[in-house]
């Protein structure tokens, strides 16, 4: 894989070079090379794909079995001082139930070497909208509140690189929106944010770049549309709403750009190898046939579709 591949970014903050990780006979991550830079990158994969293992290695929690990995030009397993510049929201609860939210975040600030832990904790708690509940014991928090206090704990040392493992678990819709906006803001400030999630819709809202893993290997990299475009052997599926779908379908069938036509519930679904050609053809054809088009929408540009192709091949 070359450095011009979409798996690599210019000015990376995290560099992964031929990294593998195995546990006994089980290979969890196999020869992965990629890099991460400022902005939000989604780390995707089905259960067992190796994304949490890769995230843990990036966050310095686990040593690669082979290959090398640097964060901010430092191997986090060799120089722990780099952890002053890293934040991690682990998937596990990882909180003391008896501590108050504020106490937990302040303790995290002390452990990160923040000189004014109270002030830093106050900022981080406000950022996640937990001011009112910060004085209560975490043991009484809902799942979403625990998640937000963990995010505050990760932000309290003002990290340049932030690792988020399923960060929106349990958060209510309003808080999801707020947290996503917060992550966007952190990315705009030039931080590197790596989000591992199995909720594709959330990753799509958060990440402008995706690293997808399947069976421990790097399956795809780039934005979802670019990854979709790379599947040249799988035609695009397009939904077309028109007042005379069967007539339009018949006319489209004879065109080279069309692979197949289906009418389901009076809605036309076509498969094409070239969205651009179809986009140019449709208006003129509809006009010549006196058909009114009400909607034309690609059906498989979403991350979910891309992911389905990656995992299942179709």
């Amino acid at each position: 894989m070359t450095s011009t591949s979409p798996a690599f970014v210019p000015n990376p903050t995290i560099e992964i070079n031929e990294v593998s990780k195995w546990f006994g006979q089980k290979v969890a991550v196999s020869n992965v090379s990629c890099s991460f830079g400022p902005g939000i990158t989604g780390l995707l994969g089905p259960n067992g794909a190796g994304k949490t293992t890769l995230l843990r290695m990036m966050a310095g929690l686990s040593q690669p079995s082979r290959g090398n990995l640097t964060v901010l030009d430092t191997n986090p397993r060799r120089d722990v001082s780099v952890f002053q510049r890293i934040g991690l929201v682990p998937e596990d609860d990882a909180v003391y139930g008896f501590l108050t939210g504020r106490g937990f975040v302040e303790y995290g600030a002390r452990l990160a070497g923040v000189k004014d832990p109270a002030a830093a904790a106050a900022h981080a708690i406000t950022a996640v909208g937990m001011d009112e509940a910060a004085g209560r014991a975490i043991g009484g928090y809902s799942k979403g509140m625990r998640q937000r206090i963990k995010v505050a704990g990760a932000l309290v040392n003002d990290p340049e690189v932030l690792f988020l493992d399923e960060p929106l678990n349990g958060a209510d819709p309003v808080q999801r929106v707020r947290l996503i906006e917060l992550f966007h803001q952190l990315a705009r400030e030039g931080r590197t944010v790596v989000v591992s999630s199995h909720v594709l819709e959330e990753v799509e809202k958060m990440a402008n770049r995706v690293i997808a893993m399947v069976d421990g290997r790097l399956a795809a990299a780039g934005d979802s549309a670019a990854i979709r475009a790379a599947f040249t052997d799988i035609p695009y599926r397009v939904r077309i709403d028109a007042d005379e779908p069967r007539k339009l379908g018949s006319a489209l069938l004879g065109r080279d750009v069309i692979r197949s036509v289906e009418v389901i519930d009076e809605t036309l679904h076509v498969q094409t190898d070239d969205l651009g050609d179809l986009g140019r053809l449709l208006p003129s054809l509809a006009q010549s046939l006196d058909i009114r088009l009400t909607m034309v929408q690609p059906e498989d540009l979403s991350l979910e579709s891309v992911f389905r192709y990656l995992v299942h091949g179709r």
């Binding site: 966050a59 310095g60 929690l61 722990v80 001082s81 780099v82 952890f83 002053q84 890293i86 934040g87 991690l88 682990p90 596990d92 609860d93 990882a94 909180v95 003391y96 139930g97 008896f98 501590l99 106490g103 303790y107 995290g108 600030a109 002390r110 452990l111 990160a112 070497g113 923040v114 000189k115 004014d116 002030a119 830093a120 900022h123 981080a124 406000t126 950022a127 704990g153 932000l155 309290v156 040392n157 003002d158 906006e181 917060l182 803001q185 952190l186 400030e189």
Partner: protein, 295 residues
Amino acid sequence: MSSEGAIFDLDYRRYEGERTGRSKIRWAMVRDGVRKVLGLRRRARRKVLPWGLIILAVLPAVAIVGFRVFTEGLGADELLEDLIPGHADYFQLTFQLTFLFIALSAPELLIPDRVSNVLTVYASRPLTLADYLVARVGALMLVVFAFTLLPQVIIYLGGAILSGQFVDHVTGNLDLLWKIPSGSVAVFATQAGIAFIISAFARRRGLAAGIYIGFTIISAGVAVALAENVNRWFAVINLQAHAIVLIGKIFNEPEISQDTALVEQHISPWVSLLVVIAIATAAAGLLYRRYRRLM
């Protein structure tokens, strides 16, 4: 009133203050450990056992000083010197309290971090595994030292004040300044290693404390039985006896350990020293090995 309005940014504001060094970070962990051991910032029932044991350990020292104040001038000083426990006796007197304190505290320091997955929090901070373990063990050592030293200091200063010749008393007993802390080290090193090892594997605090207490009591009984019936060297299995023997050696009062199987089997105090060093070293190695897999 001004007609101008403003919208303020309520979003994330980054911390731009200074950062501390690793020594401060380690100290933050030690303080956290001390709080856990003493039940500080916890519910009242969490404080009952540690503080109850501390009060029980200190109370006799206060009573001794009070008794000496009460009996001063009665002309029975020599008789009282024999009756009132000295520093070595006091270690022996509070030994079982220290044992219980360690049995309860070591699990409190290690198990919740592991069971609640909080080790991830420590692993993602600028701390090494050694920092974590040293801070956890150091927290208990600090409290156990306070636990054992406080009553000794009360007796020491009480004796100095009551002697009427404070300076002479202090200068005449300067050796206590190393003997008392050495006694605390002997007590801690003998007992904490096993307690930490059990806590590194157990998932419940009560179970860990129970296993440690049971192991200590049973090993003491087994040591005596095997030493008397099989081979005298089995006496070294009685771990608690080593601390008593060492305290007797440190204070040059071997009589306090005369009832132990070690003395009865004529095993040298140097063997006790070796055993204690071996236990502490093995415990440190096992703890490191165990936590290297976890962090």
